[in-house]
Symmetry: C2
Subunit: 336 residues, 2 copies
DNA sequence: CTGAAAGCGCTTACAG
DNA sequence: CTGAAAGCGCTTACAG
């Protein structure tokens, strides 16, 4: 079985009694192949168990038929985040019917940063989706310089000339803050995201914008890493430093979960004593006790849009927008 | 910048004043290159921003420098399973220092099953790790027939001539059953895994083996899909059909979590009225209330061993074992 | 130590 | 509709 390792086009052609050229045309379903030749080739392919060598084809066509999803995040972190699972679902949905394979690349813990660049720029893929960028990650710049089509998930902090898709974190956070003001809260804290990610910074700016003009202090700010544990730790710090707070806006639902656990443990009633707003609208949000008011962002749509944008670029579409912003919206529940 | 799309070896050679052959040798750090030539080439590479075209190299060398991890499971399922996160960590750890890139392939929901085979057999990777196989999945057979080195994670149900790494599910489950008997339980149920996966079947057989010879009935069996929800649903069926049960062995910790929630809701005290044993020893096991007695399996080691086995094969090592079994061990906690 | 040349397995104008 | 031929960008014996 694995003796005749891999028959080549040459052998198929010979077996079919045609040239390599027409064998190739027949296999790829191109026009200008006689019915007879087409059958002959099909039979030979079947008999020999031929599979086209994608590497050779790639070298000739300069197309691979696959794109990469790069996660600049340790794999095990990503794997436990429900947000990514939904982004991934959106990406697959955007890919459906496109004949493109998606290959996932995740950061190993102590990986030499360069592995990705070598792989991606080495012609293995036609383009890349890059999500969860931290700080001044040089990767997007490297890819762009190498001429690889790239779409970023989230606005990059570094100055790179790559298109990106983002959700409207600023206005979402702003509406969250305003909502807390509207329901009468006067000591509003926030658990912000990481300072080295635009999504963290934009939600913080948005929160500040929402608070602006109300005369209410905006000094109750602690940062978390978007995880439950991070949210819990930040909440503890907030309670210590601002024991009089009556509301908190967490920049992710997971952090809101952690914060609510700490509030419960501290005996603060939600929402009577402390109102809580999250961000994401994960599936768990409505099931929490109390159900979480949060900012909905279209997560699947986010993945789908990135994919669409990259595919469109690969197809040579022109006049594509350099960036796309997806809307967010406050979903009110019992936690406020 | 992305003007000079990609300089070729040819251009580097010319710029360095050497032949393509020595340029190639210099770049790949091969011997028999004069110091002078080596410097010349290094300079040219630097100036032109050369990156070797991996596709072309692959075609010439028949090696790609990457292996695939194939998950025969809808992506979003895998993404929320802590088990896979740890397997992945083990795989990366086994890969460290090997210069191999890992590419992840996950099943899209309604994907045409053939995409994987085309990709994998098309020369994109040097080998593949395949985990979470269901039933008679034809994939391993296709890969083996195509001559692609493959290592399976878990014994395949279908007859394929591929090496695999597995954990000792049988003895682990057996010791769980025996433990329940030893502590005096006389109506022992089990929440088994899927019937189309060897890991599910082996844990069920092991449980039966553990019960054998005790004269105790082994008819209280319900199947789940290894998830919390699946475990909860199975537990409800067990309570309905065997209300007198005094112990339950769940074939995964996640199913044990679901089962315990249902038991709590039904007012059954754990372990006084119903003893519970899980399988996996996930991080959550010791944090549950009560802490879960479970069968520990070396999850990271599982991933690391698969990787080692594949890498060894790629390096041409001979006499490699066709299958490797990793030991399991009962960890007793307060739930029994 | 170095270079000319063949070869990896395909695709694609070009000329019938 | 078909085939001879060039080309994709590398590597690697082979002969200096």
């Amino acid at each position: 079985m694995s003796q005749n390792a891999t028959p080549t086009l040459e052998e198929v052609a010979r077996a079919a009694g045609v040239s390599r050229a027409t064998a190739s045309r027949a296999i790829n379903g191109l026009p200008y192949v006689s019915e007879r030749a087409r059958e002959q080739v099909a039979r030979a392919v079947e008999v020999l168990g031929y599979r086209t060598n994608q590497v050779a084809r790639s070298l000739a066509t300069k197309r691979t038929g696959s794109i990469a999803l790069v996660m600049s995040e340790p794999g095990n972190f990503v794997l436990s985040d429900p947000f990514f699972a939904r982004v991934l679902r959106g990406i697959y949905s955007g890919l459906s019917g496109s004949q493109m394979q998606l290959v996932l690349l995740m950061n190993n813990e102590q990986d030499e940063e360069d592995g990705f660049a070598r792989y991606l720029c080495g012609g293995h893929v036609d383009g890349a989706l890059v999500v969860s960028l931290h700080g001044e990650d040089p990767l997007p710049g490297l890819l762009v310089d190498a001429g690889l089509p790239v779409v970023l998930g989230g606005r990059p902090l570094a100055r790179v000339d790559a298109p990106y898709v983002d959700v409207d974190n600023f206005n979402g956070a702003s509406s969250a803050a305003r909502h807390l003001i509207d329901i009468g809260r006067r000591r509003v804290a926030t658990i912000a995201g990481p300072e080295d990610m635009s999504v963290g910074m934009d939600r913080l700016s948005g929160w500040r914008r929402g608070m602006a003009g109300t005369g209410i202090a905006t000094d109750a700010v602690e940062h978390g890493d978007f995880t439950m544990e991070g949210g819990a730790a930040a909440m503890r710090r907030l309670l210590r430093n601002h024991p009089d707070l009556d509301a908190v806006f967490a920049a992710s639902d997971l952090m809101a979960v952690g914060a609510m656990q700490v509030l419960h443990a501290a005996g603060r009633r939600i929402p009577e004593e402390v109102a809580v707003v999250g961000f994401d609208n994960l599936d768990i949000a409505p099931t929490m006790s109390p159900p979480l008011t949060t900012v909905r962002q279209p997560i699947e749509e986010f993945g789908r849009t990135m994919t669409w944008r990259l595919l469109a670029q690969l197809e040579g579409e022109t006049g594509l927008p350099p960036s796309i912003m997806l809307p967010t919206e406050l979903v009110r529940r019992a936690s406020t």
